[in-house]
Symmetry: C2
Subunit: 302 residues, 2 copies
């Protein structure tokens, strides 16, 4: 089963898709509202055409919380020069940081260190406190994709990563939530970032240091997870800032984030392109410069 939220005129609507692709729509504005209704499976719905991929929105419009896990793949911990943590390293994103699976990511011209982090995200379906392993499994409504876009210079400004991870609408989520009966992260789902169709990250969820079940169990010792909450499980190796020379996203770059069995996010980067930041930076001259820099970097690695 897949759950999603689709644009519908000026509004939005939650839908469910069964294994054969039949789509059923609910009179609810997003999957967050759906999951917060006990026994939502019994709600009336009406069958309709499958949604157009371009109309898909972030499945949960405003999660009560989005908890992110740092350093949860050995190769990523190694590439950033950190030891793998003994317990999950947690931080959070506020809901204003999230955006849809196809939206442009518009950032103010305050930084040039815009980096990618493809991640499997868990969506909670059930209020859960101090879960044991079985309860942790039951808490999961399904899986979706996040790119935990990171503004590295802001992330490094203080010991706390929060400010580099919470720029407005910088974190794409979606395109749908896939239920645990369809995919199993422990069996290994390919997680990839592509920038302008070049693969930058390619890992597998079977390499997670703390599994989904362990993360839900651990986090629920501290706090109560609620329907619609999201846990971003961490990123595999291949981020931009550790490359030599470091590689960051530029205006015009197309960022694709893929997870096997879920789908793809596709977002174009726009940096410093709004009125308050002076002249637009996505001129053809700049796109050309960006392409040249990228090619030069790739050649220097070969």
């Amino acid at each position: 089963m897949k759950l999603g939220t689709v644009r519908s005129g000026e509004q939005s609507r939650a839908f469910r898709q069964d294994g054969s692709g039949r789509t059923f729509y609910y009179d609810l504005e997003d999957v967050g509202s759906l999951l917060n209704i006990p026994d939502w499976e019994r709600l009336p719905s009406r069958e309709g055409e499958p949604p157009a991929p371009a109309d898909l929105l972030a499945p949960v419009a405003r999660p009560g919380k989005t908890i992110c896990v740092g350093l949860n793949y050995f190769d990523h911990a190694a590439e950033v020069g950190k030891a793998a943590p003994e317990v999950p390293a947690l931080f959070s994103k506020v809901s204003t940081a999230l955006t849809g699976p196809r939206n442009d990511i518009r950032l103010p011209g305050l930084s040039m260190e815009v980096d990618w982090e493809a991640e499997l995200a868990v969506v909670i379906g059930k209020r859960t406190t101090r879960a044991d392993e079985a309860q942790a499994r039951e808490a999961v409504a399904g899986y979706t994709i996040i790119n935990d876009l990171s503004i590295r210079d802001w992330q490094r400004r203080t010991s706390e990563w929060f400010q580099g991870k919470n720029f407005d609408h910088s974190t794409p989520v979606g395109p749908v939530i896939v239920s645990p009966d369809e995919i199993d992260p422990e069996s290994g789902l390919r997680v990839e970032t592509l920038v302008n169709d070049q693969i930058e990250q390619s890992g597998t969820t079977s390499d997670l240091i703390f599994s989904v079940t362990e993360l839900v169990r651990y986090i629920s010792q501290v706090l109560t997870l609620e329907p619609g909450d999201i846990i971003a499980t961490g990123t595999p190796g291949g981020v931009g800032f550790v490359q030599k020379p470091p590689c960051f996203l530029q205006t015009g770059d197309v960022l694709r984030t893929r997870i096997e069995g879920i789908g793809e996010l596709c977002n174009t980067i726009q940096i410093g392109n709004d009125q308050s930041d002076g002249p637009a930076r996505n001129s053809s001259k700049q796109l050309e410069m960006s392409a040249l820099r990228r090619t030069a970097r790739k050649e220097s690695r070969q």
Copy 2:
């Protein structure tokens, strides 16, 4: 003007109190809902008796975000052995971490390092992005009190403080929000923590490294502040873990958090007292031990 939320049977209600103490009630469940209505000042309200202090709840039931500032007083930065930061150090609390101004704080028996952090909190009244100084001033609906209760051993588990700051219902907020025409943090408001009526922290908001206006301006460069959002501005010197020997809260301790011109939070600590954590720890024997430990500590400091 003061704004607050009061228990009303099984429900709750937002109210406004004018300078003469006249109280007006709204058909809204909390101040968060009130502030999210444009021109809420024009909403109908009806006058009633002032609320009983024991019936006051956290003014904003579920803030869209609660952003906390670390190390924002020189004496606190010094006592924890850190340099005063060049930019605000930010982290966040999820809404499940908050509790009312008089609620017991019930923590699972996972830690003995439960510490206090009295803080002035700013409540946002207006959607604000990339504010200049004047816009930052206009963004503030008023001020309230937070105790950013910190589970030190969990805070130190990883580089990110999040998990030590987000235990369920561990952060009391309230009792009311006082508008900026009544109090001015820059003129110096006394901020205090008392444990069992003994003063542990006593600072003044005129010593904030980054003022309220600077914090709103800085944070709004990163993200959009929305009505009902909270910024906890940091704590003055006098936290428990740096004392010699370290001093932590115990079951039965009464934690008072006071700010001049706003009022007081009063919360009793309960650690590991629920069924899932084994036998209750708040036995009279333990309260006695706690009192003995506290007295011994105070004597050793004199």
